[in-house]
């Protein structure tokens, strides 16, 4: 019990209250019951003793010289039992520890220490040795609508598992580490263990669900990136760097998307690293018509076409248009830009052009 609470209790009882630690054997010797519980009372020589916490054979008690009626004793016991229902580590403790870890991660990322291991001084270190799925959440709600640590932590624990750790990083940015058993739970009954591609699918679904949950509860916009399972004690700095980069690339190249997957932004990462001059020259040389992509219909058609792996039927379905309408649009692009996206080489070029165009357009 903290000092303020103790003082408040002293004022209520109009008598000093002293916290003490006794053993269960001593408690029993002085006339207490054999298996003591929180809220149990005992009349000792020094005054009334009441148990506030049971930690194995060690009992934390409060001792007061105040004279209490049996009803007051029972009420005090009831309140302590109720308080004790909370986890041993209160959420404020957890938040403080998580913030410390977050600060260390942030410092390590800034210093470029990608291989840094979580140091012993971090209280949460012992929770970071098992395989965990990392999510990076970037909330963009208005300040007054953004969830606080406790709300978010509770929601995420309910969603994924109790073995989930929420670590605040920068402002509006949270790292979520969840046990990788969640992947096993996603297997349909009787299935074999998930393959690599299936794991990625499940991770994407988990991230989609998380996005739906956060926006559905608090509204506003939020971005989520998810990575493959890691052992956080060794890799947490690196994964934060990777997931941050994934969100950055996703937002830069795919405006409108909120769930970003590191394994889907390889080309974007590559293009992002090319110097501006080289990119501009490439665009100039490749584009037959500089205004080709200013038409939003062409952009949405190409986006859908590439996202459907250049499958005409599936793209038409996705765009709610007739297959012939799509073919007409693709022919129009071929006619105007001289690039036929139904052929592999041209499709690669148009995909790169489209990605570069989106970046230049945003500037």
């Amino acid at each position: 019990m903290n000092k303020t609470r103790l003082q408040q209790l002293e004022q209520l009882l109009e008598a000093p209250v002293v916290p003490k630690t006794v053993t269960a054997a001593e408690w029993e010797r002085e006339g207490g019951k054999r298996n003591p519980e929180v809220g149990d009372t005992l009349h000792a020589k020094q005054g009334v003793r009441i148990i506030t916490r049971v930690n194995g054979t060690e009992l934390q008690v409060l001792e007061t010289a105040a004279s209490l009626t049996p009803l007051e004793e029972r009420l005090l016991g009831y309140v302590l039992q109720h308080n004790n229902a909370k986890p041993v580590s209160s959420s404020s403790d957890l938040e403080r520890q998580a913030r410390r870890l977050g600060e260390w991660i942030q410092q390590s990322v800034t210093a470029g220490e990608w291989r840094a291991e979580v140091p012993d001084r971090m209280e949460l270190r012992n929770r970071l040795f098992d395989g965990m799925v990392p999510f990076l959440l970037l909330c963009e709600q208005l300040d007054d609508k953004e969830p606080n640590y406790n709300e978010l932590e509770k929601t995420i624990r309910t969603y994924i598992s109790d073995e989930t750790l929420l670590v605040p990083l920068r402002e509006h940015e949270w790292l979520i580490l969840s046990t990788d058993r969640v992947l096993t739970e996603a297997e349909a009954d009787g299935d074999e263990a998930l393959g690599h591609e299936e794991t990625k699918e499940v991770l994407a679904s988990l991230a989609e669900g998380l996005h739906q949950l956060v926006t559905g509860e608090w509204g506003g916009e939020c971005h989520i990136a998810v990575g493959e399972p890691i052992v956080p004690s060794e890799n947490v700095v690196r994964i934060v760097g990777t997931l941050r980069e994934t969100i950055f690339l996703g937002r830069k190249f795919h405006v409108g998307m909120q769930v970003h997957l590191p394994w889907l932004v390889h080309l974007e990462r590559l293009l992002s690293g090319i110097p501006e001059q080289v990119r501009s020259r490439f665009v100039e040389e490749m584009m037959g018509r500089p205004d080709l992509f200013t038409d939003s219909e062409t952009i949405s058609t190409l986006d859908a076409f590439f996202s459907m792996d250049c499958n005409v039927s599936e793209t038409a379905k996705k765009l709610f248009i007739h297959r012939n309408t799509l073919l007409y649009r693709l022919d129009k692009i071929k006619h105007e830009a001289g690039l036929d996206v139904r052929s592999f080489n041209d499709a690669v070029l148009v995909r790169i052009l489209l990605l570069l165009y989106k970046v230049t357009k945003r500037k």
Partner: protein, 374 residues
């Protein structure tokens, strides 16, 4: 249960000069099934997302029941949403997926169980409760997503293209299921779709949107028979209404519509209105629904002043009806919907009569339906 009211609602995104939704005013009644329909980018999903609380409202007021909810978080609006991309939680079975929202809100276990089992019974997915999403078909997943919303027993359901991921057959089936379900639950429902068939078959009332503006809000019947403008007339109905640009002329005491292949006498009631509005001698756009072009001899004999002759370029026989794509009338193809048993074939010349009582006349500049505007 509650109604929803939007008063002068605008949505403007930072960095954009144009509003995505402009001056949206609508009073949605308690227990009403309202459909927002329109082409991509018309603002229908943005409007729904504002009602859901997923998007900020730039201007205006949103009421759910009597309460202004502009600044209320989605979780506190007492709404439930079903989206096109129904992200079922992959690590939870169907029961847990449906129970999740209630668990988060700390409902009692027996209450959660009652609601989940009741919703599962309604959606006929009781036998799937132990399955993981991975083991479900598309239609089953969609029903679970619906179930997740139903168990919340919200004041308002919000659905954004919930059937888009399903194949045509399943869509038709689910369309009927959702309509039935909403009638039984007696809850207000706001449903977004780009599909006018879905809108016409499901909605008590339909709001047609374009470029962020409401074009018309009316019952399916009114929307179909009395479209307020060219856009609504063309958007509602499949095949779409035929539009022919031509001139209105006064001839021998009657008003006639003239265009390539057309010389039609306008019925006196409509002619009177067109005269009064000063359309004689002007170019207008005439709207004729495909089913208002008749090939039955009785109709042709009875309508000597509204006959057109054309040749059939393509004939699509769908069994119960045939669609004739006609040339020689106006600039574009004209489509006629005739009886499937009709013997008309491609390449044939055909004589058809226009049901002049059902024509629509649109102003060429404003595109308003001049016979519907006083």
């Amino acid at each position: 249960m509650a109604g929803v009211r939007l008063e002068h609602v605008f949505k403007k995104y930072a960095g954009s000069d144009k509003a995505s939704v402009t001056d949206f005013n609508l009073d949605i009644q308690d227990k009403e099934f309202l459909v927002l329909v329109g082409p991509s980018g018309c603002g229908k999903s943005t409007t729904l997302r504002m009602i859901a609380g997923l998007e900020e409202i730039s201007e205006g007021k949103l009421y759910i029941g009597d309460r202004v909810v502009n600044d209320v978080a989605p979780k506190d609006r007492d709404i439930a949403m079903v989206f096109q991309s129904y992200a079922l939680y992959p690590h939870m079975n169907v029961y847990q997926n449906m129970a999740f929202g209630l668990k988060l809100r700390k409902f009692r276990k027996d209450e959660i169980d009652r609601r989940v089992r009741e919703a599962a019974r309604t959606l006929e997915i009781e036998h799937l409760l132990d399955r993981k999403p991975k083991a479900l078909s598309g239609g089953q997943r969609q029903r679970v997503a619906l179930g997740r919303a139903i168990v919340r027993e919200p004041q308002v359901f919000l659905m954004d293209e919930p059937l888009s991921n399903l194949d045509a057959k399943l869509r038709t089936q689910m369309r009927a299921n959702i309509s039935k379900l909403m009638k039984r639950l007696e809850t207000t429902c706001i449903y977004v779709t780009h599909d006018q068939t879905e809108a016409m078959t499901m909605g008590d009332r339909i709001v047609v949107m374009k470029d962020g503006y409401i074009q018309q809000a009316a019952t399916p019947d009114v929307l179909y028979n009395h479209p307020t403008n060219l856009f609504v007339a063309g958007f509602i109905g499949a095949p779409a209404m035929n539009f022919i640009t031509g001139q209105l002329v006064e001839e021998g005491g009657s008003v006639r519509f003239r265009a390539t292949g057309f010389n039609l006498e306008i019925p006196e009631g409509k002619a009177k209105s067109l005269r009064a509005k000063g359309y004689i001698g002007k170019e207008i756009i005439l709207g004729i629904r495909p089913e208002d072009l008749h090939d039955e001899p009785v109709f042709i004999e009875g309508s000597p002043n509204s006959i057109v002759n054309a040749s059939i370029e393509v004939s699509e026989n769908l069994g119960h009806e045939a669609l004739l794509y006609l040339t020689g009338l106006g600039k574009d193809n004209i489509i006629a919907r005739v009886d499937g048993r009709s013997a008309l074939r491609e390449g044939q010349n055909v004589k058809l009569a226009v049901d002049m009582n059902k024509i629509h006349v649109f102003d060429k500049d404003t595109e308003d339906n001049v016979l519907e505007h006083e």
